[in-house]
């Protein structure tokens, strides 16, 4: 009956998995691994939207030996970018119409706009500034003054204002409408694109990968196409994780099957042994997907490593139902291990549950995966294995001999003194305290993709600057106040060092109201109302009537200042509209983005001084990693205490201490090795140690629960350790530092546990 109920549950789990699984169930975005940042001073949704926009940017750099070839290469490939429909925006060539439209953005407001130099000149030398300027423009062979400008803007006041506006990248040149960079005697055409959808969406990544393979370098070695953007990292991380998942999954499965075959020599029996793993997996993914609606790829890789743990329950039953055990039949064999299995599941679950206390989505996913997976394996062993494996199994003599040697050695040794164990704990704690070196950098969440980093450095060298991932969010009670605050911020940032970087802000595009009013008045006084200007022109050898058209236009004008709304609705302003976040709950917000700034300390101090927010998601993630590492480190003794209390009801205080101390020593030794050999540890190493405790406490419980030195128990523990090492040892080879740290700390922990647990913990009826 129970078998049937369990079959029904599995069927339900299958249906649940089928209905929950969608194309986007698997996430690769690193930020999805982290809890929501709680900052009530900024509109999180708007800031997230801006960050999302940044992550969708993809830069193409078409490189060739000269401008023409580089442009040709770009023109060869741009249709492919367009055809792919991957991008919602492709900025390749600026047309004359667009340029004219940008220019017209300011034309109606030209009498309110003056360059800093002209403004200062008109204030300081009102009588002579304009004539001197015009004469110098005529004298200069490179001023660019011509009949057209002399007629419309005789002192080039408007032109000089336009040329003072933010120019973008100083290394960029506009050639035939294309943005070109020159570096290493090569020409590079820059094409900016924006993905139509998020960089972490699987089908977008697949389309991107397909497009990459279709790009054509024209068959020439010196012509290259370099791509920069978050999507490359997302894609490669995903491909790597998929490969690792396959390798770890297959590797551990093959290893487990091989071990089972060598120990029991029953080929047909292998599918049955794999059943708890399969149902554990089904249970893990269906329950987790049902709870979270999605799973992160890193959680998934972690889930695959559970294979090595979920096989343990089957192993204990198999060894109990073998020629090594005294049990007469399958039911008795199960009875012998049931209490240990149940206790193991409870204590392991407590260990995994500690993960979910930290508010990390991925950790909660991992905890849910582990607990649901282990429960699935546990109930399969309990309900199905006795039915499926009725006949006792036969362990090969060579393994019996090996276990016998080990048990005899243990029997001959006196149990380690509890005081010695206490001393060891104290010594190891001291050593760990002085040798520990934490590494909480966000980079541990990302695989080391050297090839991509080289491309990034190359692109950075060509472009000469790189956008900062940090940006400021400025707020105010009105649009005017926000822009005013932004001006103050920009001023402070520029005071750092002119070569430190470049600021990109809306307020740079138009002066404040007062200044525009003063500009207008200056022009009226010095041109419209200046009666001697004509005479001065004549003295300089210029016709008096030169100014008539301009003067007439100026005199007939009204003061019309350029403001934020006007600018944002202009053709030029529309390009920069994303910097304005708008009104949220009575506050107005804008973004100031940065290029090339490295000294984050100064930026942070400016943010503090002016009460603006510096958004630094990388730093926030690193800080969060550190915060949760510290929290979990502090929780560690509490977890052990909880397990100790639960176990003391069954084993008593003395034996319960032994059972808990064995995994603790294993974890401490693993931690010491990590710090000495690897040189550092991180949050994920700590997770590995928690799982070490959860797994190896099972070993201690099984030994303590076994009757005498049961060969079956010791063989099961040995095999369980080997299978765990196989699964998690492979995880330590991961290219993602977080997974590697997790795998390595677990691998070392389980190894130490295999050695130490039988020495410290002895069977109850030894």
């Amino acid at each position: 009956m129970r078998q049937l109920i369990w079959a029904g549950v599995i069927l339900l789990l299958g249906i649940l998995l089928y209905s929950s699984l969608t194309e986007n169930s698997i996430k690769t975005n690193l930020f999805a691994l982290l809890p929501d940042e709680q900052n009530k001073n900024i509109p999180q949704q708007a800031v997230d939207a801006y960050s999302e926009k940044l992550s969708r940017k993809v830069i193409y750099l078409f490189t060739a030996n000269n401008d023409q070839s580089a442009i040709h290469l770009a023109e060869l490939n741009i249709p492919k970018l367009e055809k792919s429909q991957l991008y919602s925006d492709i900025k390749a060539k600026v047309t004359d119409q667009e340029l004219a439209a940008y220019n017209q953005s300011f034309e109606s407001y030209q009498f309110s706009l003056l360059s800093a130099k002209d403004r200062a000149g008109l204030i300081k030398q009102p009588s002579s500034w304009l004539i001197t300027k015009l004469t110098k423009l005529l004298i200069s062979p490179v001023s660019g003054l011509d009949s057209n400008s002399l007629s419309n803007d005789p002192f080039l006041l408007y032109r000089d204002y336009l040329t003072e506006l933010p120019r973008g990248n100083p290394k960029a040149q506009l050639v035939n409408g294309y943005t070109l960079f020159h570096e290493n005697n090569q020409s590079h055409v820059l094409v900016l694109t924006e993905l139509a959808n998020g960089a972490f969406i699987q089908n977008i990544q697949d389309q991107f990968s397909q497009l990459q393979s279709e790009l054509n370098t024209g068959g020439l070695e010196q012509q290259t196409i370099k791509v920069f953007g978050v999507i490359r990292y997302a894609l490669q991380n995903r491909e790597l994780a998929e490969k690792e998942m396959l390798a770890i999954g297959l590797g551990s499965l093959i290893g487990i099957m091989l071990i089972f075959y060598l120990v029991f020599r029953r080929l047909l029996f292998l599918p049955i042994i794999l059943l708890p793993i399969a149902i554990g997996g089904l249970s893990a993914f269906s329950v987790s997907l049902f709870i979270f609606g999605e799973l992160h790829l890193i959680s998934l890789v972690f889930g695959v490593s559970l294979i090595g743990v979920s096989i343990d329950y089957a192993l204990h039953y198999c060894c109990s139902h073998s020629n090594l055990s005294n049990s007469n039949d399958n039911i008795q064999a199960l009875t012998e291990v049931r209490s240990a299995l149940s206790l193991g599941l409870v204590t392991s679950s407590i260990g995994y549950l500690t993960l979910s206390i930290a508010d990390f989505p991925a950790l909660r996913q991992m905890a849910a995966l582990a607990i649901a997976g282990l429960a699935g394996a546990y109930f399969t062993v309990l309900f199905w294995l006795p039915t499926l494996i009725k006949k006792p199994l036969k362990v090969q003599p060579v393994f019996i001999s090996l276990v016998s040697v080990w048990i005899n050695w243990l029997r001959d040794k006196k149990p380690v003194s509890i005081w010695f164990v206490v001393l060891l704990v104290v010594v190891l704690y001291g050593l760990n305290y002085f040798s520990k070196n934490n590494q909480d950098n966000v980079k541990i969440l990302r695989a080391n993709l050297v090839e991509l980093e080289i491309i990034d450095k190359y692109v950075q060298k060509v472009i000469g600057e790189f956008p900062n991932s940090q940006f400021f969010v400025v707020s105010g009670k009105s649009k005017h106040e926000t822009i005013k605050n932004e001006r103050e911020l920009v001023k402070q940032i520029r005071q750092i060092d002119s070569g430190a970087g470049r600021v990109y802000a809306l307020s740079d595009w138009f002066p404040d109201y007062q200044q525009q009013e003063q500009n207008y008045n200056l022009l009226q006084q010095n041109i419209s109302q200046n009666k001697t200007l004509g005479t001065d022109l004549a003295k300089a050898g210029l016709p008096e009537g030169l100014l008539d058209k301009y003067r007439e236009k100026l005199s007939g004008s009204n003061f019309t200042p350029m403001n934020l709304d006007v600018f944002l609705n202009s053709p030029l302003g529309k390009i920069h509209k994303h910097l304005w976040l708008g009104e949220v709950e009575g506050q107005f917000y804008s973004i100031v983005s940065l290029y090339g700034y490295k000294d984050l300390q100064i930026l942070n101090s400016i943010a503090d001084e002016l009460s603006v927010s510096l958004i630094d998601r990388s730093a926030s993630i690193s800080n969060l990693l550190a915060k949760y590492r510290v929290t979990i480190e502090r929780m560690f003794p509490l977890v052990l205490l909880a397990i100790f209390i639960i176990l003391s009801f069954r084993f008593g205080l003395h034996d319960s201490f032994r059972v808990v101390s064995a995994p603790l020593l294993a974890a401490m030794l693993s931690f010491l090795c990590l710090n000495i050999i690897v040189g550092s540890y991180n949050l994920f190493s700590i997770f590995g140690l928690i799982i070490t405790i959860a797994i190896s406490i099972d070993y201690a419980i099984f030994i303590r629960e076994s009757k005498g030195y049961s060969k079956g128990t010791y063989l099961a523990i040995s095999l369980a350790s080997i299978t765990t090492i196989l699964a998690l040892g492979l995880l330590s080879l991961s290219f993602t530092p977080a997974l590697s740290a997790f795998g390595l700390s677990l691998l070392l922990g389980v190894l130490f546990s295999l050695v130490l647990t039988p020495i410290i913990v002895r069977p109850k009826t030894s």
């Binding site: 004298i139 062979p141 011509d146 040329t163 506009l174 030169l546």
Partner: protein, 201 residues
């Protein structure tokens, strides 16, 4: 935007039947760029009834660029380098950089022509030889770049043995004629004040 402004602010014109110039011929013509010369610049603007004439001297250092010192009608010193333009501040006697992309773009074209460096010229212009007149050689430079093409129609360089005259003809109908005389080709041509100016570049 810069392109538009450049297009509307740069200027120039002309059109003569020409044939592609032979490299060797023009190499001989450009073989000896002067280091110092006196110039007369005649700026003809459609809007002005008479041309605006200035004169002065030009100092040239192939590796840095040139010092364009106007003496009449007023003294004004411009430092036109390959990487930008500066102006001599009268009060402080120091070089003040002119951070203006249009000025920078125009100066790049100007210094390329004055340098008489064939390789550099050929990067920006197609060179055609015009019919010689009274023993004077004449070459027509036609811009390759679309942006420059919109402003400059063509540039004529002419002279008997070396470049004596440069005429920049703009599409808008304006032009700039620069005549050189008393060219000096040796380093010792510079006096102390001129060396000082060159050092400032």
């Amino acid at each position: 935007m810069i392109k538009f402004i450049l297009t509307s602010c740069l200027l120039f014109l002309i059109g003569i039947s020409t044939v592609s110039a032979d490299d060797n011929q023009i190499k001989l013509f450009l073989a000896e760029p002067f280091l110092k010369a006196e110039f007369t610049k005649i700026r003809k603007l459609k809007i002005l009834s008479r041309p605006f004439t200035t004169s002065g001297k030009v100092l040239f250092l192939p590796e840095k660029g040139l010092v364009w010192e106007t003496l009449k009608p007023i003294r004004d010193v411009l430092f036109i380098g390959y990487d930008g333009v500066g102006q001599l501040d009268k009060e402080t006697s120091k070089l003040v950089k002119i951070d203006n992309p249009i000025v920078k773009s125009v100066s790049m074209v100007f210094v390329t022509i004055i340098s008489l460096d064939l390789d550099k010229i050929k990067q920006v212009f197609d060179i055609n030889m015009a019919e010689s007149n009274h023993g004077k050689q004449k070459y027509i430079l036609l811009p390759k770049d679309e942006t420059i093409k919109k402003a400059i129609r063509q540039i004529e360089i002419s002279g008997k043995k070396r470049v004596e005259l440069i005429n920049i003809i703009e599409n808008g109908g304006d032009s700039t004629l620069v005549k050189f005389k008393n060219e000096k080709f040796r380093q010792d041509a510079f006096n102390r004040d001129e060396l000082k100016l060159l050092e400032m570049m």
